[in-house]
């Protein structure tokens, strides 16, 4: 079939680095106990502030060095991946779920409902998310669960807007009208006709949001609003490491690099997914027929 043939060809252009990074992230998160050389919360003051192994004073016992309490940086980064991933997926799923539901409703039903929802979106977008986070965490107290809730509540707007936009354009297609004419219920139309044609953008957005969510968590933890010590999160590591930046730079740098790599990875993969999934969809919907770059002549 032409469809799978096209997919296969596109798979060749996959961003290997991006996928590798994400793969590493997932493996670290799942098998942290097996991979990490040390327990991330083990303190050993005698080993405090040891530099990475390639610098004088470092050793292979702590490849990336230790922090101010003698905890192994590498192990903390590996365990931190678990926090980031758990958080990432749940938060993305939560905001995705809320955002998609609202986007579908707003886009499909339009009218007053749509106007009201869009105004709510505008209002929420006009408030800096940090302030909202501060307020909510202040009320609920800092913990991993609460961060997830906060992120879910603030991030849904991105999904909502994009889904709504997609729904508006899909809705215009005749096959939606024909579904109505055939007697399909609203639920059926939304689930069989609208949602499947919108899901591609959703996947792309979710991938990109993963990186953003991880940064969000880091920011919150940095401010002390996120996970509490001794749980190792990259954000906390950044916060703790800040004061040692001038002479023990490795405390903050490596978690920073980890964050950067993950965001890079998700962006690369997200972009690639968008290219993979979108043009075929666009072509199929707007009249490309069997050919790719065919000019209408």
């Amino acid at each position: 079939m032409q469809k799978s043939h096209q997919i296969f060809k596109k798979l060749k252009g996959a961003p290997l680095w991006g996928l590798a990074i994400l793969f590493l992230l997932i493996i670290s998160a799942m098998f942290a106990e097996l991979i990490a050389p040390h327990n991330p919360i083990d303190q050993d003051i005698t080993q405090a502030l040891r530099p990475p192994f390639w610098i004088e004073g470092g050793s292979l016992k702590h490849i990336l060095g230790t922090d101010e309490l003698g905890r192994d940086i590498l192990s903390r980064i590996i365990f931190g991946a678990r926090i980031s991933l758990v958080l990432g997926f749940i938060a993305v799923a939560l905001s995705g779920f809320i955002g998609t539901g609202i986007g579908l409703t707003s886009g499909y039903f339009g009218g007053r409902v749509d106007s009201v929802i869009m105004r709510v979106v505008d209002i929420q977008l006009s408030m800096p998310y940090i302030l909202i986070a501060l307020a909510l965490i202040g009320a609920l107290g800092p913990s991993l669960r609460n961060i997830i809730i906060v992120i879910g509540i603030t991030s849904w707007v991105d999904y909502g807007r994009i889904v709504r936009g997609e729904v508006l354009s899909v809705k215009e297609n005749d096959f939606v009208k024909l579904a109505k004419i055939a007697g399909c219920s609203t639920v059926r139309i939304l689930s069989k006709h609208i949602f499947p044609n919108v899901v591609n953008s959703l996947i792309v957005l979710a991938t990109l949001m993963l990186g953003r969510v991880i940064i969000f968590e880091s920011a919150l933890s940095f401010l002390g609003l996120g996970v509490q010590p001794p749980t190792p999160s990259w954000g906390i590591m950044l916060a703790d490491g800040r004061q040692y930046l001038t002479y023990a730079w490795w405390l903050a740098t490596f978690p920073g690099v980890a964050i950067m790599l993950v965001v890079l990875g998700t962006n690369l993969v997200g972009d690639w997914l968008r290219d993979l999934l979108d043009p075929r969809q666009r072509t199929a919907l707007k009249g490309g027929g069997n050919l790719l770059w065919k000019k209408k002549s």
Partner: protein, 325 residues
């Protein structure tokens, strides 16, 4: 009640209001998409609804398909006013009336296999069991001239003409009584157009279908219709049986429309009645004949009084002050 009448439209009006503002909107104007339409379709026949863009023919289709609520007037299906249907009756109506639209690329859900697409109306109306439906889908594909094994494929694997066939198969799956065809061949290549027109005519003969054929292309309309109704700016200007309309059009607009169709014969001299003037906002023409700013035969009375549809000869009605049979 005439049992031969499958559809009757009586003084149908659909006005769209132009709103301003978001939360608290105000009406600032009105677009009279359909302004007093009356016609009927006989069972087993084809009514061609012809006119150019903006005349209201597609809106009429939408109203008959119950996708729009009319502002006033009635649409009677087998004698019943569809505007008074409750949910159950509407659901049944959605079995009896199906449609085929212009754009073959937007008419099929790209995420569904064509077998599922054709089957869907049957699924919704709980007709047959899955096995029975599978057989019927295969049967329908053959009936529309396609290989029944294609039911596993996706829409993007097919050309425009083939997609229209799939759309027709879907429409037929629930044995509808009336088929609304809105420009079903306009987006197709000329050579494919002929195939689909033949198919539609064959199907009508075989299954006793009734068609409402909406199109701007008068040569296509003539080919397939028994009765033709010509619309202009929301009103019916002429309605006659096909032969009469094409041999002796009585309304100046119909005359211009027909003469404007270029005949594929270079040796036949063709003097098109070229209409001067533009299609303007009908609101500015109220109070008189809506065609008067372009009509080559305009007289004083046209400015003062709007002509109503009058039967000039048997089965031939015209809305013009000066039409004579």
């Amino acid at each position: 009640m005439n049992t031969q009448l499958i559809l009757e439209v009586k003084d149908l009006k659909k006005y769209f209001s132009i709103q301003k503002g978001t939360l608290f909107s105000k009406e600032i104007g009105v677009v009279k998409a359909i302004d007093g339409l009356t016609f009927h379709i006989d069972k087993g026949g084809t009514l061609g609804l012809a006119g150019e863009s903006g005349c209201g023919k597609s809106t009429t289709g939408m109203a008959i398909l119950k996708l729009l609520e009319p502002t006033s007037g009635e649409v009677l299906f087998e004698g019943e006013n569809i505007g008074h249907f409750d949910r159950k009756e509407t659901f049944i109506y959605r079995r009896d009336v199906q449609a085929v639209f212009q754009n073959p690329y937007a008419s099929l859900n790209p995420r569904m296999r064509i077998g599922e697409i054709i089957e869907e109306p049957m699924v919704v109306h709980k007709i047959l069991n899955p096995m029975g439906r599978l057989n019927r889908v295969r049967e329908l594909l053959e009936v529309v001239g396609m290989n029944p094994d294609y039911l596993e494929r996706f829409p993007h694997e097919f050309s425009g003409g083939q997609r229209q066939r799939i759309g027709i198969a879907r429409a037929l799956s629930v044995n509808p009584k009336l088929l609304v065809l809105d420009e079903p061949v306009s987006a197709l290549d000329v050579s494919i157009r002929a195939q689909i027109l033949n198919l539609l005519m064959d199907l009508q003969r075989e299954f006793g279908l009734t068609y409402l054929f909406i199109s701007h292309d008068l040569s296509v309309v003539e080919h397939i219709s028994d009765v033709v109704a010509v619309m202009y700016l929301g009103k019916l200007v002429e309605i006659a049986n096909c032969r009469d309309l094409y041999h002796l059009p009585l309304h100046p607009y119909t005359q211009a429309l027909l003469s404007a169709i270029p005949i594929p014969d270079p040796e036949l001299p063709q003097e098109a009645i070229v209409l001067e003037g533009e299609i303007v906002d009908p609101a500015s023409l109220e109070g008189g004949c809506l065609f008067r700013n372009r009509c080559p035969k305009i007289k004083e009375k046209c400015n003062e009084e709007e002509p109503i549809l009058k039967e000039i000869k048997k089965g031939h009605s015209v809305a013009c002050h000066f039409a004579s049979g």
